[in-house]
């Protein structure tokens, strides 16, 4: 089947969605997504971020579709022509969706652990001069404790349903879901139950925003101060293939490996995610994680082979000592005597 997206033509298999076809093409034609998740069944169509204009339905029925279509759940028809980045209408609708998603969002990025790897931040940033026209009081939710591993910030949630689909498809007994309705709909267990099973931690990875974050990583460090490494261990429960987010030799957090669309490659178990952070030796470190997307985390390139985790920046940076953490991004301030001694000590090791 042939589809034309913004003038790029590609052959795809029947059943491919417009979004998947756009991702095969790549570049600016790829619509943003907040709710779609290729690794989860029946996940998508809700956020309306990926709306595209279908200017020709198919070779058989060339009429344009009157409404914008959610590309993530719309199947390609042979001869279809789609405008994504070239459609003013679609771009306007996407900007509106971003505005809608932000009106009740707390915009608490300064204290949000997701900041720096947040799809909502990226979506909003893509709109350039965003200025909210929302003057009303924001909707808020009562906090709910869902156990020792996962932090739920309902106010940040955009109701993508990914975590619900994940619990349905990956775990034995789903204990959380969407309760209430309309703009009061919320992710909840209803009875403040812990979401606790071997794979529950994956909800953190699939959450596009800071609604579900790693409680064991909470306020530890901004994500961009950590260096991600591909690592693995022999795990009886999952593939054991993870990303270790390191500060020096310290493992700050463990996540699954994500692709350029922030979708995990393999879901990992809670043991890998939460219980092997003390000891780097538990892991076989494969090397620095490469990112295909622009990311602050990519700003520093890893040039040295990995022995002790060491990166070509300032001397003490990322050596993992508590007192050095704040040194990052402060290149111009000179070291005092104690620090210089410390540097020499480390170098002498």
């Amino acid at each position: 089947m042939k589809i034309n997206i913004d003038g790029h033509i590609i052959e795809v298999d029947p059943g491919t969605t417009i979004l998947q076809a756009a991702r095969m093409i790549g570049g600016p034609s790829v619509p943003p997504t907040m709710c779609y998740y290729s690794k989860l069944d029946d996940c998508g169509g809700k956020c309306r971020c990926c709306l595209v204009e279908v200017t020709k339905g198919s070779e058989k029925d060339p009429r344009p579709m009157p409404k914008l279509q959610p590309s993530c759940v719309t199947a390609v028809q042979d001869g279809m022509e789609v405008k994504s980045a070239t459609s003013e209408r679609a771009l306007k609708a996407r900007r509106s969706v971003s505005e809608f998603l932000l009106i009740n969002h707390p915009l608490d990025c300064p204290v949000c652990d997701q900041a720096g790897e947040c799809d909502l931040q990226n979506l909003a940033y893509g709109n350039e001069n965003y200025k909210s026209r929302f003057k009303e009081q924001k909707r808020t939710f009562e906090p709910e404790d869902i156990g020792p591993y996962i932090q739920l910030h309902m106010n940040r949630c955009i109701l993508c349903y990914r975590c619900v689909k994940l619990a349905d498809q990956l775990t034995q007994e789903r204990v959380h879901g969407v309760i209430c309705r309309g703009d009061h709909a919320q992710i909840s267990t209803y009875v403040s139950r812990a979401i606790d099973n071997d794979f529950s931690g994956n909800v953190i990875d699939v959450c596009p925003v800071g609604a579900l974050t790693d409680k064991t990583f909470r306020f530890k460090s901004r994500v961009w101060f950590n260096k991600p490494f591909n690592a693995h261990r022999d795990c009886p429960k999952c593939s054991g293939k993870v990303v270790l987010w390191m500060f020096g030799d310290t493992i700050q957090r463990v996540t699954a490996r994500k692709d350029e669309y922030h979708e995990v490659e393999d879901f990992i178990c809670n043991e890998c995610r939460f219980e092997h952070k003390e000891n780097v030796e538990d892991w076989v470190i494969e090397g620095p994680r490469k990112f295909e997307k622009f990311s602050v985390i990519n700003a520093n390139n890893y040039t040295r082979p990995l022995k002790k985790v060491k990166i070509e920046v300032d001397d003490l940076t990322l050596e993992g000592r508590k007192q050095d953490e704040k040194k990052i991004s402060m290149k111009s301030s000179p070291y005092d005597e104690d620090e210089l001694n410390a540097i020499n000590e480390v170098k002498g090791e």
Partner: protein, 174 residues
């Protein structure tokens, strides 16, 4: 989440269970969950018109589904009450056609008469006054629902009489 703290005595009588089984029989083998909403109605009716967490868990057990599936449904639909309500719940339609014909004034009047705000229950647990959206009686506005029945073309005088009838136990809810 204060409403979660309320508890209620759960009593699935044989008669209620028979009715539940009858409702379940309306759906094919393996589609027990389909009976959820009708079953919740029956169970709620038999338990002072509200559903505690314990009762919802019981329904989940009867229908072989997860408790969260029941919570999701109960909180979605407006007719299920998650906390105790008055014995007589006066549900006033507030939507356009009723509002055009003084439905709002009538609800204000009732609230004042009973000394409650919308959504509240009288201290004796007898009456709740609730504003609801369109009940499909627009031509007979203003109206209210009490139990299974509609009371239409309402006036202040009819409200007075209805409340009096409730107090005297003359009103059937089902």
């Amino acid at each position: 989440m204060e409403q979660r703290e309320y508890t209620q005595e759960i009593n699935i009588t044989d008669q209620l269970m028979a009715r539940i089984n009858e409702l379940v029989s309306h759906y094919p083998e393996g589609k027990k969950k389909s009976a959820l909403i009708p079953v919740l109605h029956e169970v709620q009716d038999a338990h002072d018109n509200w559903l505690s967490v314990g009762l919802m868990n019981k329904v989940a057990e009867i229908l072989d589904i997860k408790p969260i599936e029941v919570y999701e449904v109960v909180t979605f639909y407006t007719m299920f009450n998650e906390k105790p309500v008055g014995k007589y719940m006066l549900e006033f339609c507030q939507t356009s056609c009723c509002a055009l014909r003084s439905g709002e004034e009538l609800m204000d009047y009732t609230c004042e008469k009973l000394g409650v705000k919308p959504g509240e229950t009288t201290t004796d647990g007898m009456f709740s006054v609730v504003g609801v959206e369109c009940l499909g009686a627009c031509g007979y506005a203003p109206m209210l629902q009490l139990g299974d029945f509609y009371h239409e073309h309402m006036t202040k005088e009819k409200i007075d009489a209805l409340i009096e009838d409730c107090r005297q136990g003359k009103i059937n809810l089902r």
